[in-house]
């Protein structure tokens, strides 16, 4: 099976680091990270990852806005995006799911099972 390449976009250093550690050490995936939506879009265009794991609440350009901007670009529109959120209320979950992302996962995630959750959501299992 080819190594998966994942782009993590999150403004929180500790979330980025733990998610990257989790996906690299548990699943053996290659991980790139970006700390903002704008940086994430640049990296996504340069690397064309197999999937993007992106935070919802970020300053300047939040996850949903970044996702919508990606959908406007043909080279990025087909990359599956998983949103990561600490919002647990049903209304927020429905709003995020309605954006057309591949999945919505919730913080705090379990670092030992994050890759498994992503694999299931992406149909990679």
């Amino acid at each position: 099976m080819p190594t998966r390449r994942i782009l993590i976009i999150d403004d929180e250093d500790d979330i980025r680091e733990v998610a990257a550690l989790s996906l690299e050490s548990v699943a053996g995936w290659q991980v790139s990270t970006a700390s903002s939506g704008a940086e994430g879009m640049r990296l996504a265009a340069a690397e064309l990852p197999d999937a993007i794991l992106m935070d919802v609440m970020m300053p300047a350009m939040d996850g949903p806005t970044t996702f919508r901007e990606m959908q406007k670009l043909p080279e990025l529109a087909s990359i599956p995006v998983i949103l990561l959120t600490a919002k647990v209320q049903g209304v927020d979950q429905r709003r995020f799911a309605g954006l057309g992302v591949t999945a919505v996962l919730f913080k705090p995630f379990d670092p030992l099972t994050l890759a498994e959750q992503m694999s299931e959501a992406l149909g990679w299992s």
Binding site: I15, S25, A27, P108, F109, L112
Partner: protein, 106 residues
């Protein structure tokens, strides 16, 4: 997905990341304490409330992944107290911030 590598090695790496995040975590908890004290005194400004709400939200998303699910629950409640304050929220805020600090090995 390739087979999972040694979970114990991953846990050790997580523990080192936790150690590295402690200075920022201490600053964030201190800010929550300031917000709770100000709320009790009736002097919580909108700016401090907004900052503390954002901090509580961040903590609710991160503490559980380091193995502190109770910290996540408390941070979530603190965020709720700050987002939609009622007259009874100031003492609850103080109570939950105190409980959060007691939960974490800072």
């Amino acid at each position: 997905m390739p087979p999972a590598k040694d979970p114990e090695a991953t846990r050790k790496l997580l523990a080192s990341l936790w150690e590295r995040s402690l200075p920022v975590l201490r600053e964030r908890c201190a800010l929550l304490e300031r917000a709770a004290t100000a709320a009790q005194a009736g002097t919580l400004t909108p700016e401090l409330r907004a900052e503390a709400t954002a901090i509580a939200h961040k903590l609710s998303g991160s503490l559980g992944m380091f193995g502190y699910p109770e910290g996540t629950d408390l941070a979530r409640r603190i965020e709720e107290h700050l987002e939609a304050p009622t007259p009874t929220d100031a003492p609850r805020l103080t109570h939950d911030v105190t409980a959060l600090l007691a939960t974490l090995p800072l």
